[in-house]
Symmetry: C2
DNA sequence: GACTATATGTGCGCATTGCGTACTGTTGTA
DNA sequence: TACAACAGTACGCAATGCGCACATATAGTC
């Protein structure tokens, strides 16, 4: 591995590697740490760090480098360009209000689902995910909807690369089990995942389709100690399907205008 | 201008420039457009674009390049590293619920405020800002709080660089007027901005202090057609100040443990 | 169909860029 | 005082990344 095509700009990869070296566990890093993390000499790491300070993406305090809020700009340009979250927001809000639960909208990126919009109910202290966060697709209701709707080949590739983990006692434990579940999800057009990622966490998701194009998945996370599975689907599913249709319709209108 | 220090990694700047060339007005770009936008030859732009496709940050369709959700990772690593939004969330939720309004938390970056957490009330179809979004600091309640608390020199530098705009009839129209307003804000410890950025939009903000360190600003946006200014401050201010204190306390506890 | 105009894809030679090594200085520890 | 581990800096060399130039493709115009 490691054979790069001849158009490859190595510095681009390194630049992003430097920015991504910072995370929750490593909020602040030294030159030596960064050099170790991305596999270059201290001198090289230092050049990148100082450059990024100069550009305003990092700040130094003594020998400790840390990210500045400016790094958010890169992702913000993506979110601003997406019509989907903007269009979806009022519908997610209405749904969250009607059901008194938290609603989310996700897209698929490789093996993960990625939150692009989320309305959390102020009355509940719900799980701490925010826009841009990733969760493993195979273990979530939205992920299963998105993967189930994938073309056969892509779905199999997903399954081949899936790294199952045993989060709770209820977590799906084999690829075959997961494949069967995906078939069910595809047939019924929704997915209910109960306590597979976290105890006391249930999520119901439906796809958001615009014609033949899959825009994303819509989710309602159901509070623990609430109604049982049967009434969840009976009560919530029609509302969610309608919301998905409304979002798709609005999206169609909005994107037709602007290119 | 343009004189760069000798440690400067030019490719890093170009890499980020390529990613930032995409925005709401330019969701998808061609090689030539990118080359023009960042000022390099087509061949160079193409190398960067193909590299970023290879790394998964962009995707091509014919000759149209667009961002993938992966660009959110860069900002997500910043948000994950910040303790403040996580700590603040439950307090913002409680406050939003109590007041039936939308609450936000911002930090200052140069001339802008930057949303790092936001709880929007599902019952209201509020203004479309999300985490990572920027607004001009001088025209917002949170911005005025954050700038007012800056040291004298930094505050004056902010004022020197401020580019005032006439958003509405009520917008502050001169630097001197703004300076006087900032003095008032600093004295009273809160800022109320009514309809200066947008008609029918009022925001009340207080600073979040931990000892002498300014962590950010907390805001409640007040619905149009609600109570008058006097009762806004009477009713809301005590709750907001308490929330700010609670956040700072929690923050102190959380950061003391880890590093 | 011929002629422009404007786009993308590609090969190549050369200068710049960015590389690591090696050195110095500083701090903290045994 | 010796030693280890860190940050900063200088420098020479090679790889990297540059733009030019040419081939090719797709429209629009007459």
């Amino acid at each position: 591995m490691g054979e790069q095509p001849d158009y490859f700009v190595k510095s681009a990869e390194k630049t992003l590697a430097v920015l991504l070296a910072f995370n929750a566990a490593h909020k602040s890093l030294t030159v030596t740490e960064v050099a170790g993390a991305i596999g270059v000499s201290r001198a090289a790491a230092r050049r990148f760090l100082l450059t990024l300070v100069d550009l305003g993406y990092l700040e130094v305090e003594g020998s400790a480098y840390r990210q500045t809020p400016r790094v958010l700009d890169i992702g913000a340009s993506y979110l601003a360009g997406l019509t989907l979250p903007q269009v979806a927001r009022p519908h997610l809000q209405a749904l969250a209000n009607r059901l008194s639960e938290t609603t989310s909208l996700c897209v698929l990126d490789d093996q993960d689902i990625l939150y692009v919009e989320r309305i959390s109910n102020p009355r509940l202290h719900s799980m701490t995910v925010s826009i841009g966060n990733r969760l493993p697709a195979w273990a979530t209701s939205m992920g299963r909807v998105l993967v189930a709707e994938l073309p056969e080949a892509a779905r199999e590739e997903f399954l081949n690369n899936a790294k199952l983990q045993h989060y709770t006692a209820k977590t799906v434990s084999s690829i075959d089990e997961l494949r069967a579940e995906l078939d069910t999800v595809r047939e019924q057009g929704w997915s209910l995942v109960a306590q597979e990622l976290d105890e006391g966490l249930r999520g119901l998701a439906v796809p958001v389709y615009r014609g033949a194009q899959l825009l994303g998945a819509l989710n309602v996370s159901v509070q623990p100690g609430r109604i049982g599975s049967a009434s969840i689907t009976d009560e919530m599913l029609p509302l969610m399907r309608q919301a998905a249709i409304d979002i798709a319709d609005d999206f169609g209108g909005r994107t037709a205008e602007q290119n």
